[in-house]
């Protein structure tokens, strides 16, 4: 029963996640950016822009300039998340890749930093009056969801020692449409439930910042508006325009 429920939940969540993000990203892709509005000083070459984006995505360069506390918590949170994701690949692939094996010890303990970073960000949301002012209930819930994912995962890893082989069999089963029973340990169910929620919420929420940042025109454009002519798609070309009459001439 629970196996069926979670199996269906994960099929649905995966479809919503993939299709949802694809749809949103398609929206960003097809929407024109008529003028070059890059925030300067900005690179004057494509290579320069790749480097700028890399620094932004890997090291949160702008956030570093902006606020060291947010930077520390955000770095902790996101770096841990990456390690955790890489580590979790072992539950979906067989045989397990070497990279994933190497990431295993780091990924395991990254869980603590993940929760710590999340708590730091949550704490700021409560304590700093400016941040409290801009926070909606969903902002708190979102971070609580991540902390919940982290804590339940840590419980499974370090305390209750879930039958992880069976969990892997469940996910491999999902992928090959040959369902295997899911262990009914409460932390597994909580963990997997919250992760499914994360997948479902992603395309409808601020979590879109992850794919979205790559489309940010103030960051990803080359500073070349004088050299590169980029017409506004919905305005007629200059060959078809009429000019204002000079002052003092006959006017309508």
């Amino acid at each position: 029963m629970i196996t069926t429920l979670y199996a269906l939940l994960y099929y649905a969540a995966t479809v919503i996640f993939v299709v949802g993000i694809a749809y949103r990203v398609w929206g960003y892709w097809k929407t024109p950016q008529p003028a070059n509005i890059v925030t300067t000083p900005a690179p004057v070459t494509r290579t320069g822009v790749v480097w700028r984006m890399f620094k932004e995505v890997a090291f949160f360069e702008s956030l570093w300039k902006s606020n060291k506390w947010i930077w520390i918590f955000a770095m902790m949170f996101h770096l841990s998340l990456w390690l955790i994701i890489v580590r979790h690949l072992r539950y979906f692939i067989d045989p397990v890749w070497t990279v994933v094996v190497l990431a295993q010890p780091f990924g395991k303990y990254a869980g603590f930093f993940f929760v710590l970073g999340g708590l730091g960000l949550l704490f700021r949301r409560f304590v700093v009056a400016r941040v409290r002012y801009i926070s909606a209930p969903s902002d708190y819930l979102m971070i609580l969801m991540f902390i919940g994912i982290g804590l339940s995962g840590l419980m499974m890893t370090f305390v209750t020692k879930t039958d992880i082989v069976a969990v892997k069999a469940f996910f491999r089963g999902l992928m090959t449409f040959n369902w295997q029973p899911l262990p009914t340990d409460p932390f597994v169910l909580l963990h997997l439930g919250l992760v499914a929620l994360f997948l479902i919420v992603f395309p409808f929420s601020k979590l879109l910042h992850a794919p979205g940042v790559f489309f940010s025109p103030t960051r990803n454009m080359v500073d070349n508006p004088r050299e590169k002519f980029r017409p506004v798609p919905w305005l007629p070309p200059v060959s078809e325009v009429t000019f204002d009459p000079p002052h003092g001439s006959k006017q309508s």
Partner: protein, 521 residues
């Protein structure tokens, strides 16, 4: 009123009065009373907007929002991806100066984002309270009008946002939506209408312009003994497009004299145009590409009619953005101009090139009365470039000042270059109706200047923006400076430049003017 007391308490501590980057605790509603006058119907209609609010204004506004979402990736993306991290909350000079939380960049965006969520996203439709979504009501529309005209579109927040979200883009869209339901702003929209009718923001017709330029020629001749021309509508190689403030008032006009002297010293064939007698483009402030283009096209037409080879823009911040980031896009391609030069060029690029080539002579002692600092104007700093490398927009004006002036000092780190603080009057706020917000928004910059004064004895601030200059000459007296303590960069150039055959040259070389002129030949 309790609110007022809280504001006063927040903003008058010793630290609040001296630290340029001081961040007050939020006081809700602190500047909700500061509102500019809306535009009268006839000025709205001139710009292609309805004069009165239509009965179905909600539909119209939401349709406009949807339209803009399809036209601008920036708008679409920025509404979605903000994570409310708070990095921008202490970066806006209007928040720093007013303590009103709706002046925090993210909160300003949320005024519109909340409505976007309600009508265009599933969570906003299903669980509005959970995600902070709200209906578009008349109160919301008024709130937009109030707070989107307390933003100078300076882009300081966009520098610090980890996703590069630029509140200016949201402000522009909000103003465009307001205009689409007949809720425009008097100051910006009247001025745009004046450009359409007459050619410049000040409404100076050709005869007035011509006589001003003649007067300036006489003034320069009186000062230097040299006949420097300020040509109008003459065939030439260079078209100079400058903010019309340069024709009208101090300290702008001294900058114009400076450009003229530089052109003269280099033997440039240049001209001004009465048709394109305005570099400013206020349509950028209201986010209207159609109106922005109509103004930009005047520059194109003038360049064609006068048969010039290159276009140079005078000292103005948003005008330089309108020229640098928008002119080519809106009125290009400019393939009829000389491809050797970028289109357009900034007057500072032109002057600096000449200085580097050793073509200009200066007597720096003429500026020895001054200890000068430089105010980076927001649009120049964060929405443009000068020269061929990133950051040239910071170095070139400073290099010019250092070439003509012995005493130069920077204001504190964190208040200059890409983190520069707005003058408080940009983005279409330079109107008396908004004096309170202008004074408060300018206070971080003023505190930074005060520090430079205390540390180095700085007594003059130079700028390359007509709005900055006007704003500072108005607010500097509140902070213990004179209204003439703000200067044009080319005013410093004008003071120090030694024109061939001038009295200044004769004095320096110990000969009289005639002999110097002969020697020059």
């Amino acid at each position: 009123m309790a609110e007022e007391e809280k504001v006063i308490e927040e903003l008058t501590t010793e630290e609040a009065l001296t630290d340029p980057l001081y961040v007050p605790e939020p006081v809700e509603g602190a500047t909700e009373h500061v509102r500019s006058f809306p535009a009268a119907p006839q000025f709205q209609e001139k710009l292609g907007y309805p004069g009165e609010r239509p009965d179905n204004w909600q539909e119209v506004a939401l349709a406009k929002m949807d339209e803009l979402r399809g036209k601008f990736r920036s708008f679409r993306l920025f509404l979605d991806i903000c994570v409310k991290c708070g990095a921008c909350t202490d970066k806006c000079h209007y928040y720093m100066g007013t303590a009103d939380p709706k002046n925090m960049p993210v909160a300003r965006q949320d005024l519109l984002r909340s409505v976007y969520r309600r009508y265009f996203t599933l969570p906003g439709k299903w669980f509005p309270d959970l995600v902070g979504a709200r209906e578009l009501t008349e109160e919301v529309l008024d709130e937009w009008y109030t707070y989107y005209f307390q933003c100078s579109e300076c882009r300081r927040c966009s520098v610090f946002c980890p996703y590069g979200i630029d509140t200016a883009e949201i402000t522009m869209a909000a103003r465009e939506i307001l205009d689409s339901v007949g809720y425009g702003m008097k100051y910006t929209n009247e001025i745009i209408g004046k450009v359409f009718d007459i050619g410049n923001n000040l409404g100076l017709p050709k005869p007035a312009l011509a006589s001003t330029l003649e007067d300036l020629e006489e003034e320069i001749e009186d000062d230097t003994g040299v006949k420097v021309r300020l040509p109008l509508d003459e065939p030439a190689d260079v078209l100079l497009v400058t903010p019309s403030a340069d024709f009208f008032a101090e300290p702008h006009i001294d900058g114009l004299i400076g450009y003229a002297k530089v052109f003269h010293a280099l033997g440039e064939k240049w001209t001004l145009s009465s048709y394109a007698s305005e570099a400013a483009n206020f349509a950028m402030f209201i986010g209207s590409y159609e109106n922005m283009r109509r103004i930009a096209l005047r520059i194109r037409k003038a360049a064609i009619d006068l048969g010039v080879k290159r276009i140079i823009i005078g000292e103005c911040g948003h005008a330089w953005r309108a020229a640098y980031q928008f002119l080519n896009t809106l009125a290009g391609p400019f393939d009829f101009l000389d491809p050797k030069y970028p289109v357009p060029q900034h007057i500072c690029e032109y002057t600096w090139e000449a200085i580097q080539a050793g073509k200009l002579r200066f007597n720096k002692e003429e500026n020895d009365f001054y200890k000068v600092t430089f105010h980076d104007s927001c649009n120049v700093a964060r929405a443009s470039r000068m020269g061929d490398y990133p950051g040239g927009q910071f170095d070139i004006p400073r290099n010019i000042i250092k070439a003509v002036c012995n005493n130069y000092y920077d204001m504190p780190e964190g208040t200059i270059r890409e983190a520069t603080l707005c003058c408080g009057g940009g983005g279409g706020l330079l109107t008396d109706d908004l004096m309170e917000i202008r004074k408060k928004g300018g206070s971080p910059r003023m505190k930074a200047l005060k520090q430079a004064t205390e540390e180095y004895g700085v007594n003059k601030m130079a700028a390359i923006c007509a709005i900055c200059k006007t704003q500072f000459s108005k607010i500097m007296p509140y902070y213990g400076y004179g209204m003439d303590d703000i200067m044009s960069v080319h005013q410093l150039v004008s003071n120090a430049i030694v024109l061939p055959g001038s009295e200044q040259e004769a004095e320096l070389d110990g000969t009289d003017g005639d002999e110097a002129a002969e020697a020059a030949e």
